[in-house]
């Protein structure tokens, strides 16, 4: 299938869905509207809501807040994950001691932490960042840990025979290997940074996309909820495209993984 046909078919799916939604929510079928506007709104209202947000400029503030929270959560969570992942992989005793606690913490649904973070860090951005960090940290941590532990024995021996010191092994062997594992989970960790931010906002905040959706829900403004969801989806797709570009640049040396996990 050529790229053009594929794109045409992809657009077709969206068009069919939107047209069905518009028709079923406005035109009665056998004297009955199948999608009552109160519960389902309709595409025209949703679209005009989005336009209104962008035209008045209110949306920019919320987008910026969510973006900022996501970035902070991603950076802090990744840094922590890399450091602890390296530490555990190089110190098996430490890893063994903390193993049950790491598993316990990872098994905990992070949403239940949101109220505690709000309590500790207030309703500003930091409680959302903290929630995102708890999500990102574990993904990066597990990948880096795996990456350091699964360095090929032969490559390691080769480094040693070439005369690498422990520090040079770190720089030329462990670090690139760990990094490649981390990058292969980049989509997931960036996604979770956004999830952390939005869920945090939804549960209690004064700004952000999550707040916008929550506000609309509070007044049964279904069009607003859908509009918020669409903006959020577009936002995530944009970020994901950015990640793909970064990934392609950084993982040129890898055979297929760059497009394998996409």
């Amino acid at each position: 299938m050529s790229r053009l046909t594929l794109l045409a078919l992809q657009v077709l799916v969206a068009v069919v869905c939107i047209v069905l939604w518009q028709v079923l929510s406005t035109v009665p079928v056998f004297g009955k509207i199948l999608l009552p506007p109160f519960f389902f709104s309709n595409p025209v209202d949703v679209f005009s809501q989005i336009v209104k947000w962008f035209a008045s400029g209110v949306i920019w503030k919320h987008l910026a807040i969510t973006l900022w929270e996501s970035i902070l959560a991603f950076v802090i969570g990744s840094l922590g994950g890399v450091l602890v992942g390296f530490w555990f992989a190089r110190q098996p005793t430490v890893a063994a001691v903390f193993d049950p606690y790491v598993k316990m913490a990872n098994a905990l649904p992070r949403v239940v932490l949101a109220p505690i973070f709000a309590l500790w860090l207030g309703l500003g951005i930091w409680s959302k960042v903290a929630l995102g960090v708890t999500l990102v940290f574990f993904i990066v941590f597990f990948n880096v840990y795996q990456g350091v532990k699964e360095v090929s024995r032969t490559v390691l021996d080769n480094g040693r025979m070439l005369g690498m010191s422990e520090r040079q092994l770190m720089q030329h062997v462990y670090w690139p290997s760990a990094l490649s594992w981390m990058f292969s989970s980049l989509h997931t960790s960036v996604g979770f940074a956004v999830v952390g931010a939005v869920v945090g906002e939804y549960l209690g905040s004064a700004a952000g996309l999550g707040y916008l959706i929550q506000q609309a829900e509070g007044v049964f403004d279904v069009a607003g909820v859908f509009a918020g969801m669409f903006v959020l989806s577009a936002f995530v797709i944009l970020i994901d495209t950015g990640v793909t570009l970064v990934e392609r640049r950084l993982l040129v040396w890898r055979p297929t993984a760059a497009d394998g996990r996409g």
Binding site: T154, V155, M161, L162, G163, M164, V173, W253
Partner: protein, 272 residues
């Protein structure tokens, strides 16, 4: 009086502790020397511990008994005089061919601006001058071996240890690589310890062929001098009358060990 011996294993014994606490003796009382400028090939049936012996010479493994001397000095830790060519892919997958070769120098503290042109020169001499920017996964198996060879040789090690380096390659590529190796080797005649399971390859390349018995507790059971004239061409030398005579002679000894080794491996499989 004499020049020091490059590698000398004296009564080296290598043993491993198995998972069930039994001791598995891989190699027993191995006595092996490689003189400076000498190309020695070790041949033996699968699982006879020839790679183990090589790892002992490299310092990657410590012998349970006996001694290892490199240039007449006891070996402690890794063998810093040796370059090691591995059987499996050992290139750094995240470095380009050029960087993979240059790293050998950079580790020693050579500035990058100086290391890169020299790496490029080495890539050219293994026939990959045009592939400097490729990553290992973009190269064929034979090309990766060439990069690995350049990576080892750029450090100019006094001893070259090779663990079935051409094992994973197809027959033709192996011969081409053998000739390349001989070409590069004849330039400065390093001491070479070359492990292979291919007797023909061993005779074609080496000055001496050492045969090991089937494991466990395998021992060195034969040592032949190869007097075929150099420079040799791997394709040509196989047609030589002397080559055939030597091959027949060594094979008569090696064959029994190969059968023994095969019988043991099938028995072991049945026991499981």
């Amino acid at each position: 009086m004499t020049t020091p011996t490059a590698v000398a294993l004296e009564d080296a014994k290598v043993a491993f502790r198995l998972a069930d606490e039994r001791i598995y003796t891989a190699v027993e009382k191995a006595h092996l020397t490689v003189a400076q400028g000498e190309f020695v090939a070790i041949v033996g049936p699968t699982g006879c511990g020839k790679s183990t012996l090589l790892n002992v010479a490299a310092g990657l493994l410590k012998p349970a008994a006996g001694s290892v001397k490199i240039f007449d000095r006891p070996l402690a830790g890794l063998n810093r005089d040796a370059g090691y060519l591995f059987q499996a892919d050992a290139l750094f997958p995240w470095k380009t061919a050029l960087d993979n070769v240059a790293i050998g120098l950079e580790i020693k503290g050579t500035p990058r601006t100086e290391a890169l042109p020299r790496a490029q020169k080495w890539l050219t001499s293994v026939g990959l001058g045009a592939f400097a920017g490729r990553y290992p996964h973009m190269l064929s198996g034979g090309q990766r071996k060439r990069v690995a060879l350049a990576q080892v040789l750029i450090r100019d090690p006094k001893i070259l240890l090779m663990d079935e380096p051409f094992g994973p390659l197809d027959a033709q590529t192996r011969q081409v690589m053998g000739n390349l190796l001989l070409d590069l080797w004849s330039a400065d005649r390093k001491a070479v310890l070359f492990v292979t399971h291919d007797l023909e390859e061993a005779i074609a390349l080496a000055d001496r062929v050492v045969i090991m018995s089937a494991g466990p507790s395998s021992r060195i059971i034969g040592d032949w001098r190869v007097t075929l004239p150099r420079p040799r061409d791997i394709f040509e030398v196989r047609l030589d009358r002397e080559f055939h005579a030597l091959h027949r002679e060594i094979w008569s000894v090696l064959k029994d060990e190969v059968m023994k080794g095969y019988a043991q491996s099938t028995q072991a499989a049945e026991a499981v």
